[in-house]
């Protein structure tokens, strides 16, 4: 039983079929002048339009990338390099994904000033702090929509309203964890750039998308033949693009958020029964992510035990789970020390069943009993 959908999802078979069919029937290079190239290019452009129309009206441009990390890197570096003459002040939050945080840390070394917004116990940033931190020379603010470790939803639209009162400041949002699981037809006043990743929405790994507004100036970070609006050189993988478009469409048509919400509520209630557990961000988080901290034991012990019972859950984030230190997100939300190292993340997917949820509860009860007996001390 798989409860680690925020790390990655199993590709939908229909998406795989699109990938295969496109690989066989549309293998020509979309940049070629001949008819086969043109057919492939048409498919690529249709895929692009399909993804953009699911994102909403404001973000009318977009390019296919190798995934969320590249989208985030390109959005931030590409925007900052192209616009550094307008200012050198940047803002992000202390709980971003490493593909955002590390980029900002690197920009600091290059002489940019970066302010990292703090978060409350639920992992939420403060709009007042955002207001106070913005300066006339702020050129970019990057705030994720849903946190990958604890599921906190940030008030993206309110952030956008505030950021857009500063004429030089543009807004990037890492929507890798939220897209298709919270909102589709985006934000009425929203980010200027957003990043997506296919494998978080039942698509194929190594495939992502960066959408942006028409007037956004970006500079490439990969150089070559000038494919993808001259922003991402390298022959475009049209099968990946088609598969991503298909994944987006299936999500738009099929996802049932109420079901997630209901299961999550049940799980929150269940975990609240135990003094040994603490649910992170119970009120502010996305309906399909539930992070729970256990007292006394480490997350690793918890996931190993649950795995023996047939339940796959993860420590707080797959990307950093091999680091033994406490995650920067958990640190940022400020947990009592005895819970700090015992965080696990349960993340739900579209094919989950109620029976699986029930079995998870049974396994967790057994774990709690073991903790009460003093295991792991």
């Amino acid at each position: 039983m798989y409860f680690d959908h925020s790390a990655t999802t199993k590709p939908d078979e229909r998406v795989l079929r699109t990938f295969m069919d496109a690989s066989v029937s549309y293998f020509a290079n979309p940049a070629s002048l001949h008819a086969e190239g043109k057919r492939t290019e048409k498919l690529l452009e249709r895929a692009r339009t399909q993804v953009l129309s699911a994102i909403g009206l404001e973000l009318t441009e977009g390019i296919f990338t190798s995934g969320g990390t590249e989208s985030n890197n390109l959005a931030i570096l590409g925007y900052v390099y192209a616009n550094q003459h307008k200012g050198r002040h940047l803002i992000t939050t202390s709980i971003e994904h490493p593909s955002v945080l590390r980029v900002f840390q690197d920009l600091e070394k290059q002489g940019f000033t970066v302010d990292y917004l703090t978060v409350d116990q639920e992992g939420r940033i403060s709009l007042d702090e955002l207001k106070e931190t913005l300066q006339d020379d702020t050129i970019l603010v990057s705030i994720m929509h849903v946190n990958n470790e604890i599921g906190t939803i940030q008030p993206i639209e309110q952030c956008a309203k505030i950021i857009h009162t500063f004429p030089r400041a543009k807004f990037h949002s890492d929507c890798v964890q939220s897209f298709g699981k919270l909102s589709f037809a985006g934000f009425t006043d929203g980010p200027d750039l957003i990043s997506l990743s296919a494998h978080k929405m039942y698509g194929i790994k190594n495939s992502g998308f960066l959408a942006y507004r028409k007037n956004i100036q970006l500079q490439p970070i990969v150089f070559g033949g000038g494919q993808e609006h001259k922003l991402r050189s390298g022959t475009v993988s049209v099968p990946h693009a088609a598969a991503l478009a298909k994944a987006v469409r299936l999500l738009v048509e099929e996802v049932d958020l109420q079901q997630f919400q209901q299961w999550r509520n049940e799980l929150v209630e269940f975990f609240s029964e135990f003094d040994e557990c603490r649910v992170l961000a119970p009120n502010a988080s996305a309906p399909y992510i539930l992070s729970v901290a256990f007292a006394q034991i480490t997350g690793e012990i918890a996931i190993n035990f649950l795995q023996q019972q047939g339940m796959i859950v993860s420590t707080s984030s797959a990307c950093s789970s091999k680091n033994s230190d406490v995650s920067h997100v958990i640190e940022a939300v400020g947990m009592p020390q005895k819970f700090e190292k015992g965080v696990i993340r349960i993340s739900l997917g579209k094919d989950q069943t109620i029976e699986e949820i029930e079995q998870l509860k049974v396994a967790v009860r057994q774990l709690i009993e073991l903790i009460r007996k003093g295991v792991g001390k």
Binding site: T18, D21, A22, L33, H34, A35, K38, K42, L43, R46, A47, Q50, A242, A245, K246, R249
Partner: protein, 400 residues
């Protein structure tokens, strides 16, 4: 309150006299065609304006997106129709304004009183309504000149119309109200713009494209089809005639010295297009010529080319700068299609140098050795005619 109506104001055609009803009918047909996807839309045309109704808000929104590209519309406003009594008008006005963000916005009430029996006169009503609105929306700032929000109230005998936003229309005349022509469509930047500008003057057209297979590819034709599709969005059905031009072009190359072959090529194109014009009962020929832009567009060249026909040749771009033409092409969405890099028939047989001042007699002399008129009739009759905008199949539906 029902936001289910759009009021459309006519453009230049409202100045017409006896023929006005013909123009109005044409506009109605064009709007109907442009909104044909919207299933519940109904229309009513009056002498001075038109009304569009639908019960579905999403269809009304869609209509608001489509209408700005239709020629013959000066402006339009989504309106609420209500009972023409002061109390109802006051109440409805507040609701209509409530749809807008009002904070810090400038504002004005504009009243038109068609029903003179209404108890308050125009000035009084403006004052009463203005005061009433400001009580509810104290953030509004009254401003008489160019206000951001214009509350428009029109009192008719049966009903009052209330709106808070007026959209600009495309102006011009309804496409098709000023005759039918033939557009010589190369696939470059200029000819689509020429077509667009004639549409704005109410001219509908068929497009003629010259293809030279196997030297030119299907992609070049596809490109022209895409241009036709884009132009059709401005409210017209456009037929495309693709002329197989290779044999004729090869005959020219063989017969006419290379520095005059371009002039002869253009002359033959004119003749073929003129043949299509006759066959389709059209009245004129439209070209994207701009004076002095290339060798074929000097006054001397134009004279030599024009000599083959008495048909009016409409050249709306003749006095325009290239950059201005590009700007329009970008605005109407044909630019990105036009710059696709496929060879067309004009680039396939480009001679090393062209005469910028060809002499008509000389050109005619060289042409006289070949039965070009027969060839012209032949290729004109071999044309392949389609209506690209009506090909709606989606190649990728199953895949994506």
């Amino acid at each position: 309150m029902n936001w289910n109506t759009i009021l459309i104001r006519y453009g230049e055609m409202s100045l017409k006299g006896k023929n006005k009803s013909k123009f109005i009918r044409k506009l109605k047909t064009n709007i109907k065609a442009a909104l044909s996807d919207l299933s519940t839309v109904t229309m009513r045309a009056e002498r001075d304006r038109m009304f569009i109704y639908t019960e579905k808000p999403e269809e009304l929104d869609r209509a608001v997106e489509i209408l700005p590209s239709i020629f013959g519309i000066q402006s339009f406003s989504p309106i609420v129709i209500c009972e023409p009594t002061l109390e109802v008008i006051k109440e409805t006005s507040l609701k209509v304004l409530g749809k807008n963000e009002t904070t810090g916005k400038t504002f004005k009430v504009d009243v038109k009183r068609v029903d003179k029996r209404f108890p308050l006169d125009t000035g009084e009503l403006q004052q009463v309504l203005g005061g009433h609105v400001l009580k509810t929306f104290p953030d509004l700032i009254v401003q008489m000149k160019k206000p951001e929000i214009l509350l428009y109230v029109e009192i008719q005998h049966e009903a009052a119309y209330i709106s808070s936003h007026t959209y600009k229309g495309a102006g011009g005349m309804p496409v098709g109200s000023n005759g039918h022509s033939i557009l010589l469509l190369s696939g470059g930047i200029d000819s689509p713009v020429a077509g667009y500008m004639m549409m704005k003057r109410g001219v509908s057209f068929d497009a003629v494209h010259f293809a030279s297979p196997p030297f030119t590819s299907d992609l070049a034709i596809e490109k022209v089809e895409d241009i036709v599709r884009q132009l059709a969005k401005f409210g017209a059905v456009i037929r495309l005639h693709v002329i197989p031009f290779t044999d004729l072009q090869q005959a020219i190359v063989k017969q006419v010295p290379s520095n005059l072959s371009m002039t002869t090529t253009r002359r033959m194109m004119m003749k073929v297009a003129d043949q299509v014009r006759q066959d389709t009962n059209s009245l004129g020929l439209i070209t994207g010529d701009s004076l002095g832009q290339v060798a074929s567009q000097t006054l001397e060249s134009l004279t030599a080319i024009n000599e083959v026909t008495n048909t009016p040749v409409l050249r709306p771009l003749i006095a325009m700068d290239k950059l201005d033409i590009i700007e329009i092409a970008q605005k109407i969405g044909t630019y990105d299609i036009s710059i696709r890099p496929y060879d067309d028939c004009c680039t396939v047989f480009t001679p090393p140098s062209n005469k910028t001042k060809p002499r008509v007699e000389k050109v005619a002399y060289y042409e006289s050795f070949q039965k070009f008129d027969d060839m012209v009739a032949e290729v004109a009759s071999q044309r392949v005619t389609t209506i690209p905008s009506q090909q709606t199949e989606d190649d990728f539906e199953d895949l994506l």
